[in-house]
Symmetry: C2
Subunit: 382 residues, 2 copies
């Protein structure tokens, strides 16, 4: 018998935490009162068990719950269901960590390429990487291609669609993707520098598959997917059916207040097959604290059995001027994603994008990054 350990942060009065923890364990296993269970095996092998309970603030506790691996099987949807199904409906409960036994971990192949695979495709073995986004949506295909081509000519490593670019009438997927891919191929033949175009796959599972086929036929090697928008299980199917793609995971719809960001983006997206994970950087348009970002990046890169290390991609209101600060913060195994702050250059887009690429390529790291551990960082998260 094998158990996974899920750690939940629970807001509770101290005198009620034992009862709350026990209720959570029942909710995430048999979902009925213990008195309804007559079967010894269920009590011994199926009912989840409360492990340690640690008080971390006046009304905040970290509660470990051991959940039977047998209740999951090799089913990513059931995995979600068992670790954060009904208990996600308690507004004062947050899922903050998971410790998975071999029996569960082995059912996930993890990323097919990871950081090393991306570096290999880009022929960039050690330096930090660059990425940008084609936007805004609403532009006709001819304009999107022009922007894509400019970014590629400027030497960006991965040029991705904005995550709002889907299959709209003004820029249909089947029309847009082959010409953008052709544009980066042409740029590559001019500059001699490898570059990947990553179109946005978004839709129901049938649309995802259809679009993935179109992309593959066009020679595309990387794609953008928002796992929470398409659904984590659909993302798993996609990675499994199209393992040749490098997957950039986008955080859209992942409002992660209920699952700690370092866990959701840093470990679950990785486990489910993302090769690079886009997340909102500190000090940008969003509200993550630096220690959350550091914990998240560390979770993506930490050794984890057979699960390949993944490339962190901080994004969201990033400024060209912050490149040195951000590279020192995240270290070289990072891809910086700057979109809007390049596009404001308009007619000088090529020049400004070149400045971005140059700033990243020429950055000199003061010292190798060596921050605090994942749980130390998590403990600092408000």
């Amino acid at each position: 018998m094998s158990w996974l350990t899920a750690t939940y942060a629970i807001e509770s009065e101290p005198e009620r935490i034992g009862e709350r923890a026990q209720a959570l364990a029942l909710e995430q296993s048999i979902e009925c009162p213990l008195e309804a269970v007559g079967d010894r095996r269920i009590l011994d092998e199926i009912v989840a068990r409360v492990g340690s309970i640690a008080q971390v603030a006046e009304r905040r506790f970290l509660v470990e719950v051991h959940i039977a691996a047998e209740t999951i099987g090799a089913n990513p949807a059931q995995f979600i269901n068992m670790v954060f199904g009904n208990c996600s409906l308690w507004e004062d409960v947050q899922l903050v960590d998971l410790d998975l036994p071999a029996q569960v971990l082995e059912t996930f192949p993890g990323p097919r390429h990871g950081m090393a695979g991306i570096r290999s495709l880009l022929l960039a073995p050690a330096r930090p990487l660059t990425s940008t986004a084609i936007k805004p949506q609403g532009l006709p295909v001819s304009e999107l291609v022009r922007i894509c081509s400019t970014f590629a000519l400027a030497g960006v490593d991965i040029v991705k669609d904005d995550h709002g670019i889907a299959d709209q009438a003004y820029s249909p997927f089947a029309e847009r993707v082959p010409v953008c891919q052709a544009a980066v191929a042409e740029a590559r033949s001019i500059t001699g520098k490898n570059v990947l175009y990553a179109p946005n796959l978004i839709g129901t599972p049938r649309v995802l598959r259809e679009h993935a086929r179109i992309a593959r036929e066009a020679g595309v090697r990387a794609v953008l997917v928002a796992p929470m928008v398409v659904g984590l299980p659909a993302f798993c199917d996609l990675v499994d059916e199209f393992p040749e793609f490098v997957y950039l995971a986008h955080p859209s719809f992942a409002g992660s207040a209920r699952i700690a960001a370092p866990l959701l983006f840093g470990r679950l997206f990785r486990l489910f097959g993302a090769d690079a994970v886009i997340f909102v950087n500190y000090g940008g348009r969003f509200s993550y604290a630096p220690q959350v970002c550091a914990a998240l990046a560390q979770a993506l890169r930490a050794p984890w059995k057979h699960v390949r290390a993944v490339c962190p991609v901080p994004a969201g209101g990033m400024l060209l001027e912050r490149v040195p600060e951000l590279l020192d913060f995240y270290g070289p195994d990072t891809m910086l994603l700057i979109g809007g702050n390049l596009l404001i250059a308009r007619d000088r887009l090529l020049e400004r994008t070149r400045e971005f690429v140059q700033a990243v390529h020429e950055h000199e790291f003061s010292a190798p990054a060596s921050g605090p551990g994942f749980l130390d960082l998590l403990a600092q998260v408000p």
Copy 2:
């Protein structure tokens, strides 16, 4: 040109709300600074617009944002992306309402059966309905069938799998579902009363399809699906490919703090094809207020163009003793779901389940329900 209106609750200092609203509108449309946009058409037809801003508490505002229908197309995933994509990452933003123009609404067929279809299948034109859950998971198939059969013999309308019962080694789907379906068919031939067995479909899209086929071949007419676990777009595909099933939507993984529960469960699950929606009842194991439950039930049943009315299914720690109170609260167009509180009877399961069925069938409504409107109720939600 056509626009949908999304209403967000934003926690903000009063002096910053205008700027926050504008940032949200950009985030949910072009996702880049306005100064990066040179194209007049984008500014006029694609950039989302802030509508009314209403202060509802000291630091809480309701902000209407008009989003161009054209940015969505007929794509449920892109629909999610555009109404609550990146802005879900702001922890102080909640999506609370949606007003959809015909152009968007027409792309969703909605429930294929709805309340009326369920009543017709059950030959129960007017009375409130009953439902229960086979549990706990971990039991062998022989035991699950025994419980299923007992519930059906007692006269329950819909006997569903517990949402934790997936395809585990101890009760494989392909083995379990045909025999449970046969058990309810046999019970029906004994009692003369219609009854539906609803197995739990959970997995990646490929598993969902495979299991749906097995269920259909076994003669199953209703299924349980947790749309947030499998992913809303995968749920759409499933309903589209297997329209013959009555879909009971389960709230697992839907931790709805970031999307108002009445909107997510009451309108989005309905829009995406659920025929009956399970949600956590007030005063049970979860924390919803009565006015949230009332707003949710009302949203499921309110007239909405071509989108059929759907059956509310309050659940979660429901007690047999509360049946009269709950029926008076929810009215006759409701299905009560009681699981654990029946199973505690153990050897008296048949008798206790009969008491439940009898209490529901014989309930006399004091007066027709006529509560406050949806937005009135929402306004009361803390």
